[in-house]
């Protein structure tokens, strides 16, 4: 067991599968770290409201990430990316379901660059819809994050985390969505 510690914030809107992503990350990371803590949002917020999940992997005791401390902010919605940017650590990864950084003003883009943030933008919803899996944008974006090197685990471990214990058809569909995201991340 290494002394790996890694914090991330996963954000989006109710119905986009935010919690699925943070749970998948937790499953992928669990064998490598001392402890896993996730914070989730349930209840009324899930009805189309903003959903955010904090993930802390390592020797932590509290379930919430402090501002300026997340190695990665992964957002299934550009607006929610902006809302949660304060959690990003200097030099951290911003992974967003968007064709480009057009959701930020020129001033916002400059602030992001001078913060040393590494941005990965992938039109995950569009790619998922084209693949006939409108609800699969979350897995596409996860594939992009893994391929871009935003995660402290190999893409293979992410694949294991989201396919284990699933029926073969579902596992295959998820593998395809991951590959779709990986391809888009490499192109970008």
């Amino acid at each position: 067991m290494s002394a790996l510690s890694w914090q991330a914030v996963v954000a989006g809107v109710g119905g986009q599968g935010v919690l699925f992503v943070s749970r998948a990350l937790a499953t992928a990371l669990e064998p490598k770290v001392k402890g896993i803590l996730i914070s989730e949002v349930h209840g009324m917020a899930q009805r189309g409201g903003a959903v955010v999940s904090h993930l802390k992997a390592g020797a932590y005791s509290g379930p919430l990430v402090s501002p300026g401390s997340a190695e990665m902010v992964l957002a299934l919605d550009p607006g929610e990316a902006v809302r949660n940017l304060s959690y990003l650590a200097a030099g951290g990864w911003l992974v967003v379901n968007a064709p480009d950084l057009g959701f930020l003003s020129a001033k916002g883009k400059k602030a992001l660059a001078s913060f040393g943030a590494r941005a990965v933008t992938v039109p995950a919803s569009e790619l998922a819809r084209e693949a006939g899996a409108a609800k699969g944008a979350n897995v596409v974006l996860l594939g992009a994050a893994a391929a871009a090197g935003a995660l402290p685990v190999d893409p293979a471990e992410v694949e294991r985390a989201i396919t284990q214990g699933q029926p073969e058809a579902r596992a295959r569909a998820n593998r395809e969505l991951l590959a779709l995201g990986a391809g888009a991340a490499e192109e970008a």
């Binding site: 402890g35 189309g48 932590y60 509290g62 300026g68 200097a90 001033k107 916002g108």
Partner: protein, 694 residues
């Protein structure tokens, strides 16, 4: 399978961890009423209990008072029981809770009351630990999912040793946190249920209650001594040292987060610079270790959620920094953002320097607007609220607790207070508003589960006292907001044990209601007609409370049934807005005032008998006035295209109806479920069903 083989490591949600803890410690009877953030505890007991030869008895009770009493009397028989609820449910259960400490139990009993600092999904930020203190019940305060599981064993042990129920108070971050933990084997205690007659205890009269109260006080003193001496319930993250400028006393999630924040500031607790005592027992407060901390530190910062409990119970309050001194905010969750500020201020004032500067925080100017939660696309509640506004315009609409509170977005929810208040508020408001000539329609909405929970008594009261209003029971045969728990209506039980359905219509009849109609709210025209008919009946001499049961499957629970005739809608291209015109010369105005009452923007004004003035600057051209005008005096032809009137956005509020910057509507295919309801909402004929889908 051996017990060892069943032990394994898993990432569990806090509520699952609590359920696991209960099953690992031999819970035999578990009751609950769902409520965020507590709803997943009982299903976890069902899930893990299935690993046992004879799984525990579990039930979704009709409300928290009932749940409390069922679990309490089960513990009278020597078996271990548990009850779970959210903290406002504890208010409902408070009556039996207050006596529970006096009379006590034989088998261990755990009351789980889940708090919601924030609040994220609740009416209040109340602190169950204060109610535990009020009721004289010991309370444990876990800081993580693992701690929640681990506290079940000592809670049962304490409960049985002193024959007193014990509360475990997790907060939302514990309940809906996830953590990896080692599972222990589920356990069956195999205790025979025995009820030993002891009327002086189980049916104590007031005179005996005094003796019981005295005995309870002695019990609590013993418990306090025990928890004071406990090494497992109190943790010194950093030991006391003489003349420390600052110490920390904390419990719950605030204690866990404070440890992380101190590490981020370069003051990790294991370096021991700031004495740090965490207790799992806010009440009775472990005075031994607390006094040790207070003896050695000049100041002690108290960190806890949501009310001051440690702070109020601790001696030498002049040394404490907390809510009383203004160091800790008195409302809201102690997030890292808030707690970070609290710690920095305390370190500064204690003249302690944080070795590590605070990390940089990125700020960008492009903050998005707050995102309001909304009813799901295809939800039949949306149809009810639309019909309510159209059928009974200008009415007052009390509502209740559940998904349908989101009818707020449609302007069709005027009050939301506590479970069941839709009925009692409608009673009070209709009586007050309609004492004279004025006849303001009052139509309340309440969900099926909420009606079974607390609506029945209010309805009996309203009927008995001659109230006149319309009550719409939104019946989707499930408890949607909290995760689709079954209701008494379908007779399904928490774990599938045999039960019996309690029919909603018969129940309403049994409450004395003489006017009942059942309908499918997807039929908007029929719903509006029925609402009008119901209101008219309430105002007749023989009238009273009219109940409409609006029955439709939940769009999240049974999506296929919720959209019975899927059709693809399109919005026809933009047309120039056309404004309403009032033409009294063509048709005589009936002076009924319907147009004025229904206008969503207040653009119409009555200027004299049979004369309506249209404020063209305000008029959006939505055509509602023309639709309700009985004489055809109010004239506005459908545009056959979107005129950006905004009616569908404000009165229907479906997330699939996206408005551009000028207000013209398009269908967001990511959200649309092809229910086709918006086509009927649009009075312009702009939103039109294009294609019937199979």
């Amino acid at each position: 399978m051996s017990a060892k083989a069943r032990a394994r490591k898993e990432i569990l949600m806090g509520n699952q961890a609590l359920g696991r803890g209960l099953v690992e410690n031999g819970v035999a009877v578990m009751t609950a009423y769902p409520g965020t953030p507590s709803s997943e505890i009982l299903p976890a007991v069902v899930q893990y209990g299935a690993e046992l030869k004879s799984p525990p008895y579990v039930e979704w009770s009709v409300n928290e008072k009932v749940a409390m009493e069922v679990a309490l009397a089960a513990a009278y028989t020597g078996r271990r029981s548990a009850v779970a609820m959210k903290m406002v449910g504890l208010n409902v259960a408070l009556d039996p809770v207050m006596s529970a400490a006096y009379i006590g139990v034989i088998g261990g009993m755990i009351i789980v009351s889940a708090d919601d600092p924030g609040p994220h999904s609740s009416q209040t930020e109340q602190d169950s630990r204060l109610l535990a203190h009020f009721a004289k019940l010991p309370v444990f305060d876990p800081d993580s999912p693992a701690a929640a599981r681990d506290l079940v064993a000592p809670a049962y042990a304490l409960s049985e040793r002193h024959q007193i129920p014990v509360m475990i108070r997790p907060t939302l971050r514990v309940c809906h946190g996830r953590q990896n933990l080692n599972l222990k084997a589920p356990k069956e205690l195999g205790r025979e249920a025995v009820f030993t007659k002891d009327p002086f205890r189980w049916a104590a009269i007031p005179k005996m209650r005094l003796a019981l109260h005295q005995a309870l006080n002695a019990k609590l003193a013993k418990i306090q001594a025990e928890v004071s001496a406990s090494k497992t319930l109190n943790t010194w993250h950093a030991p006391v040292r003489p003349r420390a400028r600052l110490g920390i006393l904390a419990s719950g999630v605030a204690a866990a987060l404070a440890r992380d924040l101190l590490a981020e500031l370069g003051l990790p607790v294991d370096q021991g610079r700031i004495p740090f005592l965490q207790t799992s027992v806010p009440y009775p407060l472990p005075l031994g270790p607390v006094n040790q901390l207070l003896d050695s530190c000049q100041r002690v910062l108290v960190l806890e959620e949501t009310e001051p409990v440690l702070e109020l119970l601790a001696p030498r309050r002049e040394r404490l920094w907390g809510r009383g001194s203004g160091h800790v905010p008195s409302a809201g969750e102690l997030t890292p953002e808030v707690l970070g500020g609290v710690l920095e201020r305390a370190l500064n004032e204690a003249r302690l320097k944080a070795p590590r500067p605070k990390g940089k925080v990125l700020s960008v100017p492009d903050q998005p607007p707050m995102r309001r939660p909304n009813l799901c696309p295809g939800c039949s509640h949306r149809a009810v609220f639309f019909s309510l506004k159209k059928g009974l315009p200008g009415g007052v609409y009390p509502s209740d607790i559940g998904c349908y509170t989101l009818g707020l977005n449609q302007g069709a929810v005027d009050t939301c207070h506590d479970m069941g208040a839709a009925v009692t508020f409608a009673h009070a408001l209709s009586r007050s508003l309609n004492e004279g000539e004025q006849a303001t329609p009052v139509a309340a909405t309440i969900g099926d589960s909420t009606f079974y929970h607390s609506g029945i008594t209010g309805l009996v009261n309203a009927v008995y006292n001659g109230a006149r209003f319309v009550l719409v029971i939104l019946d989707n045969e499930t408890t949607s907001m909290t995760g689709m728990q079954p209701t008494p209506e379908n007779g399904l039980t928490a774990d599938g044990h045999p039960g019996h359905a309690v029919e909603l219509r018969k129940l309403v009849e049994g409450c004395g209601v003489r006017w009942i109609d059942e309908l499918d709210p997807y039929d908007l025209g029929e719903t509006q007609k029925t609402l009008k008919k119901a209101w008219r009946w309430t105002q007749k001499p023989e009238g009273g409370v009219a109940v409409i049961i609006a029955r439709h499957a939940c769009a999240a629970h049974r999506p296929a049934e919720a959209v019975p005739a899927p059709c693809r809608v399109e919005v026809r291209g933009a047309a120039a807005p056309v404004k309403t015109s009032f033409k009294p010369k063509l048709n005589p105005c009936a002076d009924c005032g319907r147009c004025v009452a229904i206008c969503p923007v207040g653009a119409l004004r009555r200027t004299g008998k049979g004369r309506i003035k249209v404020d063209k600057a305000k008029c959006t051209g939505c055509r509602l006035c023309a639709q309700v005008c009985p004489t055809g005096t109010m004239v506005l032809e459908p545009a056959g295209a979107c005129v950006a009137c905004g009616l569908c956005s404000t009165w229907f509020a479906c997330p699939a109806l996206a408005a551009d910057s000028e207000g013209y509507i398009s269908i967001d295919r990511d959200w649309c479920v092809d229910c086709g309801l918006c086509a009927e909402v649009c009075a312009q004929g702009a939103i039109a069903p294009m294609e019937v889908l199979s």
